[in-house]
Amino acid sequence: MQIEFLASYMPIFTSFIVLFAIYLIAALSLNMEYGYGGIPNFGHVFFISVGAYMAGVLTARTVDYIAGIKAGYCSGQASVLRTEYLSSHPMEAIAIFVASLVLGAIIGGLFGYAASYPALRLKEDFLAITLIFIGDMGRIIARNEEGIVCALTGLTGIANPLSFIKDVGTRSIAYALIVVAFAVLTYIYVQRLAKSPFGRLLKAVRDDDLAAMALGKVVPRVRGEIMIIGSALAAIAGVLRTFYIQGVVADDFQPLITFLVLTMVILGGMANNKGVILGTLIMTALDQFISPSFLSLLGVSVEFDVTYMKYIIIGVIIILVLMFRPQGAIPEGPVETPALELSRSSEWDVEEKLEIGGEEESSSSSE
């Protein structure tokens, strides 16, 4: 009885985990750019969408070419044939998945580099305005071009790389594990990046770029680098999303997605990756559970589209957090350096510890 109960809730649980992990990658990358780097990249959805389109286009074109599918790029028949081909050729499917990730990250990084051009020249709020509109322009182009993701109909048949696994439950759990692995790797990466000298440089540039420049740091390069890193990570989130929903539609990438991800960062705490995890967890839960399908499962029905409720709540959270706790749930901590860890382990006696082989002490205290 209990196992049956669990089994019926398993799909909801896995989809929650997958979305959480994808949003986490997106939120961590935005936190890198905005929280640490001070670049208000409010066109974040554009960089996510770049990865998503990349995965869709690459998969569809490659499969059409290898399998010799002649039914038009956007046709439903082609989509069925693609899914069939990918589920019967696991090696090719996985190779395409990996290629999409790599290429998506590269193209995302390139777009990020291109976007860093205005980022170096504009004042904060003007930059934010420009980037918000960049995010929407990408969508307008994609929804009107047949060649990218089939305009309004969307590109389908981008089968999951694991679709050779016949059992749907096992397959979705396996894919969830892959996505979670990516999220964990991203977390470790951004955490290490934040604690590295580069992370401290980022904060220095964010807090006072003139002072950083006076100390001989090349500010434009730092900003360019963080935009490349952040956008590449965002694109990876997009690639993972495309393979998860097995298709890509331009209108999914509304500016609202940026604001949802931004809320995760602001709510959790800017320049604090642990906070971002918390923020992402809360916002993903909101995003998932305020949906018509989940509410009908609970037996609640409303007259209007409940997704409206979701956006109202997002708006209220943004306003309340910025008004009463702009530092977020978990505020930004001091810069993590070996010296700081030493001072924590040794009750203010930093100098003494530094003399007696600080290396060993710091590694043991960090655990």
């Binding site: 709020d125 509109f133 929407d136 322009m137 409720m309 959270i317 306003i319 910025l322 008004m323 702009p326």
Partner: protein, 309 residues
């Protein structure tokens, strides 16, 4: 190629964009908030007008006055409820921008719920529109008789207010240096309220006119926001005359640009927003001050010298 229709559209839309952008220019120059919830002032104005005309049978004039007050009160409420407390707590300008996005989401989706429940997701004010003349192939209707005089009157009144009345001068002083204005005895919070009231009201009237001109949805404000920002940024976000030029340039560039691209390069008219976007990017990157205090001769001289760093 007959240019009368794009010309008429450009003039009408240009005037509407100008009217919407005046409010944004005003609030940005005085408070330095890039207010994304400005979009919702347009939408509310549009909905109030459309619903009063369609449901209550009011004339367009009365409905526009109601739209003025509705949007004006919303603008004041935004400032009193969110922006002012945040500024008093020492928020950064960027946080104010993000908060304005939050306000925008709340208002827009509350309106969405209301519109969904009342089946008015798309609506147009059924104003009494009559053809009163022709300009080439384009018709001149009573809507145009509302749009042009209101735009011109707003601009003239704002100009008179900001240059010849005490509150207007004080507002300009605030825009220049708020602290200095304050120590000089300007009641900055009263004036702020006045400013938001007027800025919101004009924007609401523009939204109302839009609802008579074409079909609106709760997202109409977001749709217009790109053009509003383009127009304001062309005016450097501080200058009224620059904003008027900006609104007209955006209107003309959009209509002629897309007609031209569509005829000769077969570009879909759906790319219309890209023109405003390009305007924003080019102006911000090349001349962030827009037309405000544009000194053409000085600029040319600097270019001739090679613009040393």
């Amino acid at each position: 190629m007959d240019l009368s229709i794009p010309l008429m559209n450009s003039l009408t839309l240009g005037s509407l964009y100008t009217l919407m952008a005046l409010g944004l220019t005003m609030s940005f120059s005085v408070t330095k908030i890039a207010n994304f919830a400005h979009a919702e002032l347009v939408t509310i104005g549009g909905y109030v007008t459309a619903l009063l005309v369609n449901w209550m049978g009011y004339g367009l004039g009365e409905s526009l006055i109601a739209a003025f007050f509705a949007s004006a009160l919303l603008a004041v409420a935004m400032d009193e409820g969110v922006f002012k407390p945040m500024i008093k707590r020492g928020s950064k300008p960027l946080f104010l921008l993000v908060a304005s996005i939050g306000i925008g989401l709340v208002v827009r989706y509350l309106l969405f719920i209301y519109a969904d429940l009342n089946a008015v997701i798309t609506v147009q004010a059924k104003a009494n529109v009559q053809l009163i003349g022709r300009f080439g192939r384009a018709g001149i209707t009573t809507i145009h008789l509302w749009v042009f005089p209101i735009t011109i009157a707003s601009v003239v009144l704002l100009h008179l207010m900001f240059h010849y009345t005490k509150p207007g001068k004080a507002l300009r002083a605030m825009a220049d240096n708020e602290d200095l204005a304050r120590v000089s005895g300007v009641k900055i919070y009263t004036l702020r309220r006045l400013m938001w009231f007027i800025a919101g009201g004009i924007t609401g009237v523009a939204g109302g006119l839009w609802s008579a001109y074409s079909v609106i949805t709760p997202e109409i404000g977001w749709y217009a926001l790109l053009r509003i920002f383009a127009a304001s940024i062309l005016g450097g976000l501080v200058s009224f005359w620059g904003t008027i030029a900006g609104g007209l340039i955006v209107g003309f560039a959009e209509n002629f640009g897309i007609t031209f691209m569509n005829t000769y390069f077969n570009v879909s008219t759906a790319y219309r927003p890209l023109i405003s976007f390009v305007i924003i990017v080019i102006v911000l990157l090349l001349k962030p001050t827009g037309f405000a205090g544009f000194d053409f001769i000085g600029w040319l001289k600097e270019k001739m010298k090679g613009g040393g760093e």
